[in-house]
Amino acid sequence: MASVTAPATKASTNKESYYTAGQAQLIWSRFKRNRAAMISAILLLFFVIVGIFAPFISPYAPTIAGKDPDYLNGAPQILRFWDENGFSIVPFTYTVERTRSAATNLRWVETINKEERRYLRFFVKGWDYYLIDFFIDLPGRNYDVRWRALKMDRHLFGMDKGFIHFFGTDKDGKDLFSRTVHAVGISLAIGTVGVILSFVLALIIGGIAGYFGGWIDGVIQIITDAVRVVPTIPLYMAIAAFLPDDWSAEARFFFISIVLGLLGWPTLARRIRTHLLAERTQDYVLAAKLAGASPRRIISRHLLPSFTSYIIVDLVITFPYTVLAETSLSFIGLGLKDPVNSIGVLLKNATNVDVMLNYQWQFIPVPIFIILVLAFVFVGDGLRDAADPYAQGKK
């Protein structure tokens, strides 16, 4: 008897946990089943962590301060465990010496000295950095906010002497690995600021249009349409064109992300409006109105939660487009400029004939960028599938 009831109780607890689960739990349980999305989510998490801890992970400063003067345009270095001189448990690379003399026609010549080994070390001391570095840098000194904490000088890895360059170096001898790691962080930060800004704008504008409807909606729709039909990249370009050249890199960074945010709202605003228009005639809104709730309260407490999942999905979907916009802007030369490390800047540096023919390792940021964008798109799709309330019947 007991053996017969056991599976039944199990099924009923399953059912019960299904019915009592919150929206987030349901979405998560469905999301977990989607393998492509899960892999992408893990990759994405990895990128975010890399971006946040960029100074810790990168062995050298990504600026000119961290350059390796003896290794310009240097090829990636590979760690070895053994060579003809014997085996070592601690991985090592060789020392590169750069010399110039009459014998070499006064040109710099790099030679690898196999006798001089450099050994890999973990948690080495290197350049100083702040683990938490939050800044708002607007043009004009008075508005700058910089909040830093946790000064550190330990880095994940380094060499006992000299440098190691996993991704090689660029023409100034800057470590490409460090630059790439920082670029991931900066590009993600720009995307985040841009997406949050456009999200807030979309919420306000779409919320007002959808809730009030009527002529307010009409006017807002005309404006939204006008902003939406103006092609974005030329608009970015026009706005970026009057960024003064003397602005600091950080100020440019903020300006670009604000521009991306200011122009990104129409699509989301329209979606929010459509949802609200459909929802506002529902009985629960009427009930809230009769109970004396203010419009703000009805929008934020009753209407918006009814499609939070859609909004999140939309945000994840728009994210890669914001990152892409930054990339193409920087590529044209109107976005971020060289001392800053964004993916767009790295891609721009890689796109010249000299690099293509001689220093192919400078393309390493490209596949990383591709993986980042793909991960975002797949996570967006996975979230959308998971948030779809009608999909449960199938499984």
């Binding site: 989607n34 393998r35 492509a36 005309i222 404006i223 349409d225 006008a226 902003v227 939406r228 039909v229 103006v230 092609p231 974005t232 990249i233 030329p234 608009l235 370009m237 026009a238 706005i239 064109a241 009057f242 979907i317 890669p320 487009y321 892409l324 990339t327 193409s328 590529f331 044209i332 030369g333 109107l334 891609l347 796109t351 293509m356 490209v366 960028f369 591709i370 993986i371 980042l372 964008v373 793909l374 798109v377 797949f378 967006g380 799709d381 959308r384 599938d385 779809d388 009608y390 999909a391 019947g393 199938k394």
Partner: protein
């Protein structure tokens, strides 16, 4: 509606161009200065401004510009090149529009079938592969694809495939041969642009189809015994295509965004390239403004057509229910 949008757009564009620092009078005087005139005074610039009509208030100039555009089709004069913008652009804008439309077609030809197919076999290996390939277009930077194809065609065909025409056709008037020559080269930018803009449409189609597929009316139709292609096309597909048609104008916009970069790499001498050049390099506000405006006019026009089309297809829209 469309006319109001156009007016607003012309205002935004004109305002943007106004925001760019420096005006034509300053440039002209500065240019004259390099030609041997001794010094520039504030008065010189003011005099030049009055001669060019730049002293009038912003609204008046905007109104004049808009009036010229709508009544005479005259787009103003380029400050830098001292000729009318119409002269500079000639047929180049039409070439760009043609390229963009071709790219739009390519991206729909990929997005709609793949999106529909993908929604019916959600999350299987085939679905993931198909989506992976289409999203790769988004993730691969346009200029990389363009450079890659260029390199490939140089190595294997011995021709870089850059430019819009071969040398012998560059300055020739339009003819069938020139058109064929154009088409033999235009497929590449169209393909690159189309592929790169597929992702968003694909996501939209897939999302809409998934939504519709799971809805109760589809279940009801299944219960009535409908199945296969008939069920698919009569119910979910028809519903899902509405928003896609609705977004044609904005998709055109997105594709045009990518055009300048591809045009630069492939050295296509068309409006996207001129736009980039006038914004990023020569700061030629009038030309840039005119191109952006022409593009928005095309988008508004397309939106108008799709609205009418949607009204014909979907009776609910005609009655203003959505």
């Amino acid at each position: 509606m469309a006319v109001i949008t156009l007016f607003l757009v012309s205002f935004i564009v004109f305002g943007l161009m106004e925001l760019v620092p420096g005006n034509c009078a300053e440039r002209y005087v500065a240019y004259k200065n390099t030609q041997g005139r001794a010094s520039i005074s504030e008065a010189d610039i003011r005099a030049e401004e009055i001669r060019m009509g730049l002293d009038k208030p912003f609204v008046v100039r905007w109104f004049n510009w808009t009036k010229d555009v709508f009544t005479k089709g005259y787009l103003g004069e380029s400050c830098l090149r001292r000729t009318s913008v119409n002269q500079i652009l000639q047929d180049k804008f039409w070439i760009s529009l043609g390229l963009t439309l071709a790219a739009l077609l390519v991206s729909y030809l990929i997005a709609i079938p793949v999106g529909m197919f993908s929604s019916t076999i959600r999350n299987s290996a085939t679905d993931t592969t198909f989506r992976f390939i289409s999203y790769l277009g988004l993730a691969l930077p346009n200029f990389m694809v363009a450079l890659g194809i260029m390199l490939f065609s140089t190595l294997y065909f011995g021709d870089t495939l850059t430019g819009l025409f071969s040398n012998e056709f560059r300055d020739a008037p339009w003819s069938t041969a020139k058109l064929l020559n154009f088409l033999s080269r235009a497929w590449m930018p169209a393909l690159i642009l189309g592929w790169s803009s597929t992702a968003l449409q694909l996501q939209t189609v897939r999302a809409l189809m998934s939504d519709e597929n799971d809805k109760l009316y589809v279940t009801a139709a299944k219960a009535r015994g409908l199945s296969g292609a008939k069920l698919f096309w009569r119910y979910p597909a028809r519903q899902a295509l509405g928003p896609v048609i609705n977004s044609i104008g904005f998709d055109l916009n997105r594709i045009f965004n990518a055009l300048p970069i591809v045009a630069t790499i492939l050295t296509l001498n068309e409006a996207g390239f001129i736009l980039l050049e006038s914004l990023a390099i020569s700061n030629d506000q009038e030309v840039a403004g005119a191109i952006i405006f022409l593009l928005t006019v095309s988008i508004v026009f397309l939106n108008f057509i799709t609205d009418v089309l949607l009204g014909i297809i979907d009776p609910r829209i005609r009655k203003g229910m959505i």
